[in-house]
Amino acid sequence: MLNPKLKLNPKIFSLGCEQVPTRKGFGEGLLKAGELDKNVVALCADLTESTMMNLFADKFPDRFVQVGVAEQNLVTVASGLSAMGKIPFCSSYAMFSPGRNWEQIRTTIAYNGRKVVIVGSHSGISVGADGGTHQALEDVALMRVLPNTDVISPCDAIEAKKATLALAKTPKPAYLRLFREKTPVVTTEETSFEPGKAQIFWLPDVGLAQVGIIVSGGLMHLALLAAKELEAEGIKTKVMNLATIKPIDTDAILELAKECKAMVTIEEHQVAGGMGSAVAEVLVESFPVPIEFIGVRDKFGQSGTPDELIEKYGLGKDSIKKAVKKVLKRKV
């Protein structure tokens, strides 16, 4: 069942469930953050509407910097703004930022200790028709490897808004990962959110779970659908929302592993270096259990609808169910 404590969206399993892109939640969150703190500023590399930064730019034109199609400049100018006490959010597509400008982010933001939020929209395979050049499947790996840098991948638009507001207050460099497509709204305004804290979204009605499922990002609704069907088949699971990939919630992951002794991780990202790898790093050091990784396996994406691509690269509901059953058999 859905965790009753979290006041999640009761309509998540119905066909009419509201769908909103995470980037919209970001846009609304940034506007609000701008209203709350005059030091919040925004920069964009010619993708203001696509990343929904236009809400902020229209309201606060004097605190918005349009740098043109120049992602290296985007983040380094942001570093300079931060040096003067501003709280910059810089947005582009994840493939270009942090894809193109990684060294500038490393040196002038992470290494430099500058409180800049890198917002990478259009991450994952669900970018769809634009094809492989625009589908960032490596960005979590790029950003989580940087010391002194937080990484957050919200599961829906409401959580993206809360994450944006939280990041406006954070004293650290950070990466916020967003998706182009509309995804079902899993949480509600009442659902609590705290950076660095994982949450159990789904749990067995009674008894212990047999498999722990950890999700970052927009595939959360598919994981919940899979968990519901698995429950009907007699397989008990817990589904964890690991929105903050770094700093990782070690305690929550270990607690889940100790209960289930088998895990599945789910993300729209390369298996190499992504959230699943981060979870594995935690588990192999302290409490090794079998893990199945749902993610893209050493391939670039291609054009198609999000649904077609999610199916093709093995990220869909049936793949999740298969992985759960597979890891169950591997339990010792």
Partner: protein, 297 residues
């Protein structure tokens, strides 16, 4: 106002800083000689005449900001700051050693009053642009702070440099003053052989900057250049400072071999033996120090 007396003081200070640079490099056994010596006069006039700053209160809000984009000339940056009173001159000997605040390339985690960390080339100017934009957001046209960015000519190969130049031109950032160390060398050779930059002034003008060319070793000319840059209201200004790499040490001058190495580690054709390099350099600078005094007295 730059009096004759002040010029004499600056010349002596620059010479002391060059001596420190050679001593640091000898002690470290690695580091960049040519650019450090070549930029000593510009660092000197900035820290001892141009900049609004307070070494005893390095985080003073009203200070001018100085970004060193080409972080590899850290020796002259550190030496100048030590001579200006930011930290003890004695500490210069720790350059590049384990546990030092004087990292091989500047890192503000170790020395928080550095305005930025640098080393990877081409991203200093855009940070300076960000600072200038923030200053304008806060102070509008009333700003009394300037953002200075010191850069090398070699790093103008980087696209990021020109992205920054374009944005500064767009916003007419009059509070931004860039200084290009036009010493015509980079690590593998002469700039015009590796990647021609000329016509360099025209390039900056085409990006809507005000351009001043000056000799980088003449305090009177440098002072005029900075005064002109501060007075320009419509545009950012770039001072293209023609400098001599290795300035002050005869066997290093104009020679790209000395871009990335210190004296005392390598025997090279046409150069003094490695045992002699440090001694010769220091002797020459110390003699020059004497010359400066006698010329003016």
């Amino acid at each position: 106002m730059l009096t004759e007396k002040k010029i004499l003081e600056l010349e002596q200070k620059a010479n002391d800083i060059r001596i420190s640079v050679i001593e640091m490099l000898l002690e470290a056994g690695s580091g960049h000689s040519a650019g450090s010596l070549g930029m000593a006069d510009i660092f000197t006039i900035l820290f001892f005449h141009i900049l609004k700053h307070d070494p005893k209160n390095p985080f003073w809000e009203g200070r001018d900001r100085l970004i060193l984009s080409n972080g590899h000339i850290a020796p002259v940056y550190y030496a100048t700051m030590a001579h200006a009173g930011y930290f003890p001159i004695e500490e210069l000997k720790t350059l590049r050693k384990f546990g030092t605040r004087l990292q091989g390339h500047p890192h503000r985690e170790y020395m928080p009053w550095l305005e930025t960390s640098s080393g990877p080339l081409g991203s200093g100017l855009s940070q300076a642009v960000g600072m200038a934009l923030a200053d304008r957001m806060d102070c509008g046209a009333d700003t009394h702070r300037f953002i200075y960015c010191l850069m090398s000519d070699g790093e103008l190969d980087e696209g990021n440099s020109w992205e920054a130049a374009m944005l500064a031109g767009k916003h007419k950032l009059r509070n931004l003053i860039a200084v290009v160390d036009r010493n015509n060398i980079q690590i593998e050779g002469f700039t015009e052989d590796i990647m021609p930059l000329e016509p360099l002034s025209d390039k900056w003008r085409a990006f809507n900057w005000h351009v001043i060319e000056t000799v980088g070793h003449d305090f009177k000319s440098l002072n005029e250049a900075f005064e002109e840059a501060q007075a320009i209201f419509e545009k950012p200004t770039v001072i293209i400072a023609h400098t001599v790499p290795g300035q002050g040490v005869d066997f290093m001058e104009h020679d790209f071999k000395w871009h990335g190495i210190p004296p005392g580690i390598r025997d090279m054709t046409g150069e003094p033996s490695k045992e002699e390099q440090g001694k010769l350099a220091l002797r020459e600078l110390r003699t020059l120090g004497g010359k400066i005094k006698s010329e003016h007295q």
